[in-house]
């Protein structure tokens, strides 16, 4: 699925930060990868490279053969819209939109008709067990429920890859387990490739493959 070659990310600002130092990494189709490491180690930066949210300073990030580092802005946006699903630590739902509408936002750039959008959003919410909360605003949902909505939003477009940055970071243990089980189930059933950043060793242990990133360098463990 992914092939990273010699990926470097250097932030130049007040201080030059080498967030990633010539990372070589291969992630196969249908893998469930957990990324761990100390804070500031470069986990989020690596996820940004994988998700096409930012470009590496040098090196190439091949997603099914396409180099995300070299795609145009428009093509990169399309890649994010069509092929990559995101789940964030803070859920990142639009606070003014209902659960169903939040899920539907993912289909807006895919030019799905409004009617079909609503139907698919409701299906996606049902698949994460939130069918009856479709009309609720994020503020009316618990953290775990919000994260389920976010997962539904990431999955409704049927992406090839799901990228999650500390998806359980803000949740209590019981809810954390629910979410991890949900992701595991999707991984097994849909054959998704999942890359998940986590601080939580309990979560990481459930992954097939575990990576550690510290000071911009990736190591297997």
């Amino acid at each position: 699925m992914y092939q990273l070659k010699n990926v470097t990310k250097t932030y130049t600002g007040k201080r030059t930060v080498h967030a990633l130092r010539s990372v070589d990494l291969e992630i196969g189709d249908g893998e469930l990868v957990a990324i761990q490491g100390p804070t500031g180690g470069g986990k989020s930066t690596l996820l940004q490279m994988l998700g096409g949210l930012d470009r590496p300073t040098s090196g190439s990030v091949l997603l099914a053969g396409d180099d995300l580092a070299k795609l145009s802005d428009g093509a990169l946006t399309s890649a994010r819209a069509e092929r990559i699903g995101f789940v964030f630590q803070h859920y990142n739902l639009i606070p003014t939109l209902t659960a169903a509408e939040n899920v539907a936002t993912a289909m807006v750039p895919l030019h799905v008709k409004a009617e079909k959008r609503t139907r698919r959003a409701l299906e996606a919410l049902a698949s994460v067990g939130l069918a009856e909360r479709a009309d609720h605003l994020p503020g009316e949902l618990s953290g775990g429920q919000q994260q389920r909505v976010a997962i539904a939003r990431a999955l409704v477009k049927e992406p090839r890859v799901l990228l999650a940055d500390e998806p359980t970071g803000n949740l209590d243990e019981a809810t954390r387990d629910e979410i991890v089980e949900l992701l595991e189930g999707l991984w097994k059933e849909e054959g998704l490739t999942i890359v998940m950043v986590t601080h939580d060793t309990a979560v990481a242990r459930r992954a097939q493959r575990r990576l550690r990133i510290a000071k911009g360098t990736v190591t297997e463990r």
Partner: protein, 506 residues
């Protein structure tokens, strides 16, 4: 999704939305009021000009006289004038018909010269006169002389002296004077294509007709004030004229016509002893482009004449009308600009702070594949709708404000041609009519000056119209404000990196 999201977002931050919309609303309401009032003032100016110069007059020709020169409208009495009563008081009854001060007459043959100028389509000549009649009593001069010698000053000798209170002939104390002044315009009855007659219509009786001899037509307002009706006689100069009709102005309600009395030109010339003389020529020109050329040509042909175009005349309008006009154009415009700029600034500020607050939200949308144009459009759309909201509220607010201005019944008074030089003791405006009937009853003023007063002051009720264009422009301005804020906010949104979605900051 666009509209749902937009609606939710605006409702979510309804306070900011309200502040921005109200700011824009107040600003455009102000713009509406200023532009409507300035249109109203301009209309009033046009009404004044038309009532004085007639519709279709592009150029007027007159001849300035030396100040105080010409024939001064001054009554001359001597001790023997009038009829002496038993007690030595003399009753006086005199009327005088003369050209207004500061105006000179010129040869009517100039009309032919003017008609010969290229592009002139029509010209009409008029002789504008002021009739001042004086009636009253004067104390016995000889008796006064004696009193003065006996030690009493003028005006203090009333107890012993003549009838009423004694005083000097300057009216400071004892004389009972009545001064009545009105304007008389002599005009060729057939010249109704241009000039003062173009804006009058007959109210009662008939208008002037070719072949009319010793007849007069009165301004209806003046007739009412002076209590003269059709069929009465009116003394003009030494003659008694039959009043055959009254006329009113067609330029608007409450607008007086340019003159109190209209008589045939020849009659006016005879009465004033000014055969073959006129004071004004009204000229119409075939196209607006030729007005200046015609004015120049006439000026060259008649070097002594003063030639004015309509725009010169508009500048000449004085009185509260010109005050209002300059107030609206300076203060009003600047105030509008400042308030508009403030409202725009407010809209921009709130939009930008909104985008900053939504950094993660907008970053997330980018992260899940919303393109730049879609995100920018969303932000800009919100601002434009805010602007539209402000526009709708502002138009309503502006309409109410303009209505209030109209209902306030503001009356503007304007005079044209610089004739309205109010002398001390000037009598003020006639009630309801607008035409100042000239020197007041206060005998203290020199009569000649009193007679000069306000021959063409016209009162016009301010009516500020709200046109479709004003409404469109107002809404347009509000939307422009929203658009401007949207562009700035959108530009910031466009620069947001999708990686902002991963920021841990709430």
């Amino acid at each position: 999704m666009f509209l749902t999201y937009l609606r939710r977002e605006l409702r979510h931050r309804r306070k900011q939305t309200a502040v921005v919309a109200v700011g824009l609303a107040v600003a455009i309401a102000l713009v509406m009021v200023v532009s409507s009032v300035s249109t109203g003032v301009r209309d009033a100016q046009t009404a004044v000009l038309e009532s004085v110069y007639g519709v279709g007059t592009d150029v007027t020709v007159s001849q300035p006289g030396e100040a105080g020169g010409g024939r001064p409208g001054r009554f001359e009495f001597d001790a023997e004038a009038g009829e002496a009563d038993d007690d030595g008081t003399r009753s006086l009854d005199q009327a005088q018909l003369s050209v207004e001060r500061g105006t000179a007459t010129f040869d009517a043959a100039s009309l032919d010269t003017i008609e010969g100028v290229e592009h002139v389509t029509d010209a009409a000549a008029a002789l504008t006169l002021t009739s001042t009649s004086f009636s009253g009593e004067m104390p016995d001069m000889e008796a006064m002389q004696e009193q003065m010698e006996a030690g009493g000053g003028p005006g203090q000798a009333g107890e012993q002296g003549g009838p009423g209170r004694a005083g000097g002939p300057d009216g400071a104390g004892g004389s009972a004077f009545e001064v009545d002044s009105f304007t008389v315009t002599g005009i060729d009855p057939s010249a109704d294509a241009v000039g003062p007659l173009t804006t009058v219509e007959v109210a009662e009786g008939r208008g002037l007709e070719a072949g009319d001899d010793e007849v007069a037509v009165l301004d209806a307002t003046y007739a009412e004030t002076a209590e003269i009706t059709v069929g009465d006689t009116l003394s003009v100069g030494d003659s008694d004229l039959e009043v055959v009709g009254t006329v009113t102005s067609t330029t608007g309600d409450g607008v007086a016509t340019s003159s109190d009395v209209y008589v045939p030109l020849v009659l006016a010339q005879t009465l004033a002893d000014l055969d073959g003389q006129v004071t004004d020529v009204y000229v119409s020109v075939d196209s607006a482009d030729h007005v200046d050329a015609v004015a120049d040509a006439v000026g060259a042909a008649l070097p002594d004449a003063s030639v004015s175009t309509q725009s010169d005349l508009a500048d000449d309008v004085t009185g509260s009308l010109s005050t209002a006009s300059s107030l609206v154009s300076t203060l009003g415009t600047w105030l509008s600009i400042i308030v508009l700029a403030a409202a725009f600034g407010l809209a921009i500020l709130f939009t930008v702070s909104g985008v900053n607050r939504r950094t993660r939200e907008l970053g997330t949308l980018k992260a899940i594949g919303w393109g730049k144009p879609r995100v920018v459009g969303q932000v800009a759309g919100e601002s434009v709708v805010q602007g539209l909201l402000g526009g709708v509220v502002g138009v309503a607010l502006g309409a109410v404000a303009v209505l209030a201005v109209n209902l306030a019944g503001i009356t503007l008074s304007g005079s044209s041609g610089g004739l309205a030089v109010g002398g001390p003791g000037a009598g003020g405006q006639a009630p309801g009519g607008g035409q100042a009937t000239g020197g007041g009853r206060g005998g203290g003023a020199p009569f000649g000056q009193a007679a000069d007063t306000a021959t063409s002051a016209v009162d016009v009720a301010l009516s500020a119209p709200v046109t479709v264009w004003v409404v469109v422009a107002a809404v347009g301005l509000a939307v422009l404000g929203g658009l401007l804020a949207g562009v700035v906010g959108g530009w910031r949104a466009a620069r947001l990196r999708p990686a902002e979605a991963l920021r841990s900051l709430a």
